[in-house]
């Protein structure tokens, strides 16, 4: 009887331990990973919505180098597919903060979706997306041709701008073939599209197709010329409900996040190794992509989140989205910002 009770008790403990982790919800207090040497503390579980794109590196750094744990958070970086999915994850409380593409953010704002905040912008990586054609030397020669585009994303604005700069209209002068990520490469390789536009790492694959000619990148757009930023940079956003519940807690999280951004800027070689390990890619392939990155720290945010940079850029990008029929109106995006969370 005694042995049976002991075994039963042990079994219950094992089951409880196995179920316990799954049952934990964001916001629960849990003992998470702590930096080496630091005393274990009760950490608050927070979900970060991301993907495998290198722009999510500060979240990975914050987790691995202990910035979040030092601030009292056990951050879990979860993949949430495309940027629109990440906006939804913030709105419905599946994630507390996320990095996502500006186009998805502006479109959600244009739909008056107010359940998230726009906190800041952690990086710009100009030159990481480009228009590549096969056997065509000039953008002007794309008239009547087919371009493979990941529509409703930053590259959609980039190709619109590049064509406009060459006197072409994306809606009437070329045929747009819709695809995403690797499909863009396949469409161009198979000859169904004579040109394609996509970001890294697919941009490199596009350039590797025999006869490929780079016709332009996001650095050749009027947006870059005016605001020194891309057509749709990565944005840091947060769940409104989570922030409003305890703004001081949110402030602590974003200070830790931007500490991780600073680490990214100050440790380029270590960052390459960390990213390569995280995305299971050769360091040699990560290095050239990362060379384009400029990490924007907490101190930079005053300029970044102003008319001189992103506010000016977001206004122009929103107007383009409305012209393309992808957004119903230009949103008053300043209403989604929380400068107090980044203040000293």
């Amino acid at each position: 009887m005694g042995i049976r009770s002991t075994l039963l008790g042990a079994l219950c403990c094992v089951v409880a331990a196995a179920c316990g982790d799954d049952a934990a919800q964001p916001g629960d207090r849990a003992v998470g990973s702590t930096p080496p040497g630091a005393p274990p503390a009760a950490l608050e579980r927070v979900v970060y919505a991301g993907s495998n794109w290198y722009g999510h590196a500060p979240a990975w750094v914050g987790i691995e180098k202990g910035m979040f744990a030092a601030a009292g958070f056990d951050v879990e970086a979860s993949p949430f597919g495309s940027s629109p999915n990440r906006v939804t994850a913030l709105e419905n409380g599946n994630a507390q903060f996320a990095s996502l593409g500006e186009v998805a953010m502006l479109e959600a704002m244009a739909e008056d979706r107010t359940d998230f905040y726009w906190i800041g912008n952690q990086d710009i990586a100009p030159g990481a997306e480009g228009l590549v054609a096969i056997g065509i030397e000039r953008i002007e020669d794309l008239r009547g041709k087919t371009i493979a585009v990941n529509v409703n994303t930053s590259v959609h604005i980039t190709v619109y701008e590049l064509l406009k700069g060459a006197g072409l209209d994306l809606a009437t002068d070329v045929e747009v073939l819709r695809g995403n990520d690797s499909a863009i490469v396949d469409l161009v390789r198979s000859g169904e599209a004579q040109a394609g536009i996509i970001w890294e790492p697919y941009y490199t694959k596009l350039r590797e197709i025999p006869g490929a000619v780079v016709l332009g990148t996001d650095m050749d757009t009027s947006i870059y010329e005016r605001f020194k930023t891309m057509t749709g940079p990565d944005m840091i956003c947060a769940s409104k409900e989570w922030v409003d519940a305890d703004p001081a807690r949110a402030k602590r999280l974003f200070r830790a996040y931007f500490e991780a951004v600073l680490w990214c800027r100050e440790n380029p070689d270590a960052l390459i190794a960390l990213i390569a390990q995280h995305v299971n890619e050769d360091e040699a392939k990560v290095r050239p992509v990362l060379a384009n990155f400029k990490w924007l720290t907490l101190e930079d945010q005053a300029v970044v989140m102003s008319d001189a940079m992103l506010f000016g850029q977001a206004q122009v990008a929103s107007e383009i989205l409305v012209r393309m029929g992808l957004a119903k109106k230009v949103p008053d995006f300043r209403k989604w910002t929380r400068p107090d969370l980044l203040a000293d």
Binding site: S82, P84, V87, T88, A104, E107, A108, E111, D112, R113, T114, Y117, I124, V151, N152, D169, L170, A171, T172, V176, L177, R178, G179, N180, A183, D186, L187, S190, G191, E192, K228, T229, D244, K294, L296, E299, D300, A302, V303, V304, S306, A308, M309, M324, G325, L326, A327, R334, K335, T337, R338, P339, D340, L341, A343
Partner: protein, 313 residues
């Protein structure tokens, strides 16, 4: 009065159908009508009056930047049980449908173009799959050896959802019309084949025996007995296959096209335009209904004896 009547008078059936549809619309309206008022906190960005010196992170130039803080304000807003983008009101959805139908924008196909493109893809896929599946199905129904040979392959293909063919079809055929035709074909083919085999096997053996006793040749048995007897079930099966075709075309239109109801639905989902998604779905149902009416007419033409029997019963 019968406890479980098998049919209803046509007028009553129509009235009940209309009542059912109206019921759904009223429920939709009730869910999306802003009955409630809630107080929400808004945060307004205000300049503190302080100016700080900052360096532009890209150009390196020195800038004098105003410092901003956040002021909290509360305001009331009207809310429904379900709010956009989860679900818009019936009125807004109808307005969006009208815009999609009538407003032509360069590079943005109208609703009619979307509907025509998807319907053409389905009809073409249906023609190709039926023209392969029906003869093969009849042959498999007639010859057990062929059935034993092909059935394991069909058993493997049958459970595969059409969306699972998208990656392979893209690698093998690109993302053009051929890929879309292939996905629609693969989705429809297995179902059409199985319906045809079943219809052929289920031809009453007495009919075959009687024809043989009356001295029918193999050719006469096939054309005068087997096919007419199997055709009603084959046609019923093919009507179901046309509806299956819609799940296939929506998968096929994920990539490589701007035109088609699938493209409209996928793109609208990305922009959280629920109204357009609902309009796309309603169009699919509408087209399936029209195709169903059209196939019933063809059925009446091909199999008039079935309808005579129906009238007579």
């Amino acid at each position: 009065m019968q406890a479980f009547p098998r049919t209803l008078p046509p007028r009553r059936r129509l009235l009940l159908g209309v009542a059912g549809v109206l019921g759904v619309i009223v429920l939709w309206w009730a869910l999306t009508f802003p009955f409630f008022t809630e107080t929400v906190t808004r945060h307004e960005r205000v300049a503190t009056g302080e100016i700080v010196t900052r360096t532009h992170p890209v150009t390196g130039e020195t800038l004098q930047m105003p410092v901003f803080d956040t002021v909290e304000r509360t305001e009331s807003r009207h809310r429904a049980l379900v709010n956009p983008p989860a679900l818009d009101t019936p009125g807004n959805t109808l307005r969006d449908a009208w815009t999609l139908l009538t407003v032509e924008r360069p590079g943005r196909p109208t609703l009619l173009t979307h509907m025509l493109r998807s319907t053409l893809r389905i009809l073409l896929g249906f023609l190709v799959s039926a023209s392969v599946a029906v003869p093969l199905g009849i042959a498999m129904g007639l010859f057990p050896t062929l059935r034993a040979l092909v059935s394991p392959i069909i058993s493997f293909l049958r459970p595969l959802p059409s969306i699972s063919w998208v990656p392979l079809a893209m690698i093998w055929l690109g993302a053009g019309e051929l890929q879309k035709l292939a996905i629609v074909f693969m989705g429809m083919f297995a179902a059409a084949l199985i319906y045809t085999i079943e219809a052929t096997i289920k031809v009453p053996p007495d009919l075959i025996k009687a024809a043989r006793n009356l001295g029918a040749s193999d050719r006469q048995l096939l054309w005068r007995v087997l096919l007419p007897a199997a055709l009603p079930n084959i046609v019923s099966g093919l009507k179901v296959v046309v509806a299956i075709g819609w799940t296939c075309v929506i998968s096929a239109e994920i990539v490589g096209t701007q035109e088609g109801l699938g493209a409209l639905i996928w793109l609208s989902k990305e922009t959280a335009d629920t109204s357009a998604v609902l309009v796309g779905m309603a169009c699919i149902s509408g087209i399936v209904l029209l195709l169903d009416l059209a196939t019933t007419r063809i059925e009446r033409h091909l199999l008039p004896y079935l309808f005579l029997r129906e009238r007579g019963s």
